[in-house]
């Protein structure tokens, strides 16, 4: 029952850092209680927070790269899309920062990240986790 209570508990508010400490395009690891999160500032200035360790072999995702997901409709063409992904520093798996899902295997639960609300409040990056 304890775990159920925990799961249903309202998310707690965590202050990650000051706005200036997380520049657009950057990611950093943040501990929210027992959880490790990757907190990301997208190029256009909004924030995302996801599970901080990769479901593959547990690399620290914040050490990877945040980018607009590459897409294409024709062989040979590369288009930068609106979807943002974090690319793992080790084997380069991608995870969608809005959904936490792998673009390659969106149906695979064990290959996804949990997502958390991340916002700017009074000049501070705040995560609800």
């Amino acid at each position: 029952m304890v775990s159920r209570v925990l799961r249903d508990a309202p998310p707690r508010r965590y202050v990650v850092c000051a706005r200036k400490d997380l520049a657009p395009g950057e990611a950093r690891t943040f501990r929210a209680g027992s959880r490790s999160l990757a907190v990301v500032c997208l190029e256009e200035g909004s924030y995302r927070a996801v599970t901080g360790t990769c479901p593959h072999e547990a690399a620290s995702l914040a050490k990877g790269k945040v980018e607009k997901m590459w897409t294409s409709e024709t062989a040979g063409e590369h288009r930068s899309s609106e979807r943002c992904v974090i690319v793992c520093p080790w084997h380069n798996f991608e995870f969608d920062l809005d959904t936490g899902l792998s673009p390659c295997e969106p149906g695979r639960k064990d290959m996804s990240l949990r997502t958390y609300r991340a916002v700017l409040e009074d000049g501070e990056v705040v995560v609800y986790a």
Binding site: W70, S72, A75, G76, R79, F93, C104, E105
Partner: protein
């Protein structure tokens, strides 16, 4: 050598219907094509010291060369060049509903004079229709093309594609490039438009990852690498994304490497999708849904249960089609090649039903 009697070749004739996905019809010589060639190509083949097809580089250590000894014609013509023998030894002996003829004549391997290669392909198709496809309704054929002229190859597919005898287009697994390259896409476009499959088979020009190693046994053990490269190329170049109805058959490639390739390719796709973002799905999904493999040469492990487990790992009961490779030395009998570790229902699918749905019989 005397003509083989049916009962000598096949004492275990049974009733299970069979569709054989890989049977080789043979020219006696390229001069058979002379009546079907147009000038200026005709006289280049007709003259006594004219064009000869490329030879296989190895001398065969097998007792009857590339042929199964009992399929030899006995009069110097190559095994597989005599329709009557094919009918008696294969079609009638094994309750073959359909046999898919897969040409061993590949103008794609003629690396010079591309228009000549295209002319050869056209002549071969006409020869095949007249001498094989229209002689026995159980025989289905593969369209021969010269892939180095993709637009002309597409026109050839249009020209003969409506003939009810043709079910696919045959391409050799070449050593130096992949057919997934957009240069070849007119061929896939024509295949899709005519509702024909694309099939890949080895040829005299097929090489291993180290080219041509000194011994035939080395070549013969390693050549599945050539199909693997072609299959990887089709997926990586987005052929299955661009041609959403295209069906592909990998013939005589063996198939037990498929689980490894699917795992390796899927894992690389998770890592490297960004390089080929036009590929929309996991590579293994295209393979399961769009690609078939033929049984021969069947592996023969000490524990047949292991073979069944390899089959299960692929994750599709439909991916495998029986093939004999008649009249070649490594012929597999339809009633002996599949071990009892394969459930009866699966054996039935492999022997006929998978090919029936793939080719639309």
């Amino acid at each position: 050598m005397a003509e083989t009697k049916v009962h000598e070749l096949s004492p275990d004739v049974r009733k299970t219907p069979v569709i054989d996905a890989d049977v080789h019809e043979m020219l006696v010589s390229v001069r058979d094509l002379v009546p079907y060639l147009a000038e200026p190509w005709k006289s280049r083949v007709a003259v006594a010291d004219g064009w000869k097809n490329r030879n296989f580089p190895y001398s065969y250590p097998q007792v009857a060369g590339v042929a199964m000894a009992d399929a030899a014609t006995g009069d110097g013509r190559p095994a597989g060049s005599d329709l009557k023998l094919v009918q008696s030894q294969l079609l009638n002996s094994y309750n073959i509903e359909y046999a898919i003829l897969v040409s061993s004549f590949h103008p794609t391997n003629v690396q010079v004079q591309p228009e000549f290669a295209t002319g050869l392909a056209r002549a071969y198709n006409n020869w095949l229709i007249e001498n094989w496809l229209e002689k026995d309704g159980r025989l289905k054929g593969s369209i021969t093309i010269a892939a180095q002229q993709p637009e002309a190859a597409a026109r050839e597919i249009e020209r003969v594609g409506a003939h009810p005898g043709f079910v696919q287009i045959i391409l050799p697994v070449v050593p130096d490039h992949v057919f997934g390259n957009p240069f070849y896409h007119p061929i896939f476009e024509a295949a899709e438009r005519n509702d024909l499959a694309i099939a890949f088979h080895q040829s005299n020009a097929t090489e291993t990852a180290v080219g041509l190693p000194p011994y035939y046994i080395e070549w013969h053990t390693a050549i599945s690498q050539a199909w693997q490269c072609q299959l990887i190329g089709l997926i990586a170049h987005g052929v299955f994304d661009k041609f959403e109805r295209l069906r592909v058959a990998m013939l005589e490639s063996s198939w037990t490497w498929v689980p490894h390739l699917m795992w390796r390719f899927d894992h690389n796709y998770r890592s490297l999708r960004r390089e080929v973002p036009w590929v929309k799905r996991m590579p293994s999904e295209y393979i399961r849904e769009r690609v078939k493999f033929s049984t021969q040469p069947m592996e023969y492990p000490e524990d047949p249960e292991h073979l069944w487990r390899m089959f299960e790992m692929i994750g599709s009961e439909e991916f495998l089609m029986y093939s004999s490779d008649y009249p070649h030395w490594d012929f597999d009998s339809p009633y002996r090649a599949l071990p009892r570790s394969f459930p009866r229902e699966i054996r039935r699918k492999i022997l006929a039903e998978n090919a029936r749905s793939f080719y639309g019989f």
